[in-house]
């Protein structure tokens, strides 16, 4: 449930900002936990964990994308 919402919102935020991004959804535990994520769902931007255990709003995701964009 939550992970689908997060995926949808992330797609929406990326589309809104018009940035080029590869979005990958990791669902296997070894991959998830390799990022030190202890609460699902999590959002990782450029290999950096920015969200764990909550579903931020689309606006919040846009903000995170802008801050963490290289």
């Amino acid at each position: 449930m939550n992970c689908k919402t997060l995926e949808k919102r992330t797609l929406e935020a990326v589309r809104f900002l018009g940035i080029e991004a590869t979005i990958e959804k990791l669902e296997a535990y070894p991959e998830i936990t390799a990022y030190c994520i202890m609460r699902t769902p999590g959002l990782v931007i450029d290999e950096k964990v920015v969200v764990a255990g909550s579903v931020p709003t689309v606006d919040k995701i846009k903000e995170l994308l802008l801050v963490h964009q290289g």
């Binding site: 535990y29 070894p30 998830i32 936990t33 390799a34 990022y35 030190c36 994520i37 202890m38 609460r39 699902t40 290999e47 950096k48 964990v49 920015v50 969200v51 764990a52 255990g53």
Partner: protein, 340 residues
């Protein structure tokens, strides 16, 4: 809800007095509603209805307040911080601390696997991790509110106390058994990327917003269970003959405690659905220890959670975990049947 989230502190100042007034006049409203129906006092149907009309709003009001406060308290604890507090702690002290933190740290059994791995990764001993995994689902605010609302503060305290003892003792026993090799091998092979989540310290407004968020989330999810649970409870309350349960769940029936646990373990319900039903059974002659044991096994041990944990634990360890906790619950049940 939007306005409340925008002005969290101002809203609390307005909502709190309203809450107090509502709570204070609840009994009068319920009696007035029953009087309106024109049903004769003392009849089964009247009493069942009165119970329902009074208890449902009472429990919901209590739940809103407690979930809000706990939602704020939880912002001071995160699994990441709990993990660093528990890393390298010795067995007994670690088990106590872990059970306490299990009560206040935000936890959802859907995240049991990443949490387990995170703990093991950070060097939290296996037994200490189990104390957390036992306390976190068993002792939660919804259970405490329902116990307080329907049974009174003594029973609520009793539940929290015995639940903690079980979590501490079971975790300690599992730690002593040295069963590390029954954890799935891939768990130890993970080497987490050290760029962990940077922690942003929330402002008090943020914390208040988390409180409202928790109310929306938790109360929004459990209210149908409360309606159903109290509905069934009122039915039992009004219609089941006195002492009906004495022969089945009574004190003199020695096998009732293990039977209650055996039935309770695979049964899965949240606290909101099961506690009102159990409350009504207690009134009809079920013994307190048996009732407590049934409740704990339903809430604390669940089939879905063990299936989730099977991903990181070999079947032997799953069986050890469930049996150690079940034995603890049975012992608590017998002790309370003896004392009361």
């Amino acid at each position: 809800m939007k306005v409340v989230e925008k002005h969290p502190i101002g809203s609390a100042v307005i909502i709190l007095p309203l809450w107090i007034i509502m709570y204070a006049i609840l009994q009068r409203i319920a009696d007035a509603l029953i009087a309106l129906t024109g049903l004769p006092d003392g009849e089964h149907l009247t009493e069942a209805l009165r119970f329902f009309v009074f208890e449902v709003p009472k429990v919901l009001l209590l739940l809103v307040l407690v979930v809000f406060v706990v939602g704020i308290i939880r912002t001071y604890f995160s699994p990441e911080r709990t993990r660093s507090l528990l890393g390298g702690k010795s067995l007994f002290v670690g088990n106590i601390l872990s059970s306490m933190l299990g009560i206040v740290t935000p936890f959802c059994s859907c995240s049991a696997v990443p949490l387990f791995i995170g703990f093991v990764e950070a060097g939290v001993p296996l037994g200490v991790t189990f104390s957390f995994l036992i306390a976190a689902p068993m002792i939660n605010e919804v259970a405490v509110v329902l116990l307080f609302g329907l049974f009174g503060w003594q029973t609520a305290l009793l539940y929290v106390g015995t639940g903690s003892v079980i979590a501490i003792a079971a975790g300690y026993v599992i730690g002593r058994l040295k069963v590390e090799h029954f954890v799935e091998d891939w768990v130890y092979k993970i080497h987490a990327n050290p760029t962990a989540l940077e922690e942003i310290i929330p402002s008090f407004t943020d914390r208040m917003q988390s409180g409202y968020g928790a109310v929306k989330d938790i109360v929004g999810k459990v209210w149908p269970y409360i309606l159903a649970g109290i509905g069934v409870g009122s039915g039992i309350h009004g219609y089941m003959p006195e002492n009906f349960m004495a022969g089945l769940m009574g004190k003199s029936v020695w096998w009732s405690v293990p039977a209650a646990v055996l039935i309770g373990v695979p049964l899965y319900s949240n606290a909101a659905g099961i506690i009102p039903v159990v409350h009504a059974l207690l009134e009809k002659g079920a013994a307190l220890g048996t009732t407590l044991a049934f409740m704990m096994s339903v809430i604390g041990l669940s089939l879905p959670e063990t299936i989730i944990l099977r991903k990181v634990l070999k079947i032997q360890l799953i069986l050890i975990f469930v049996s150690v906790v079940a034995v603890g619950i049975i012992m608590v049940g017998y002790v309370f049947n003896l004392v009361y």
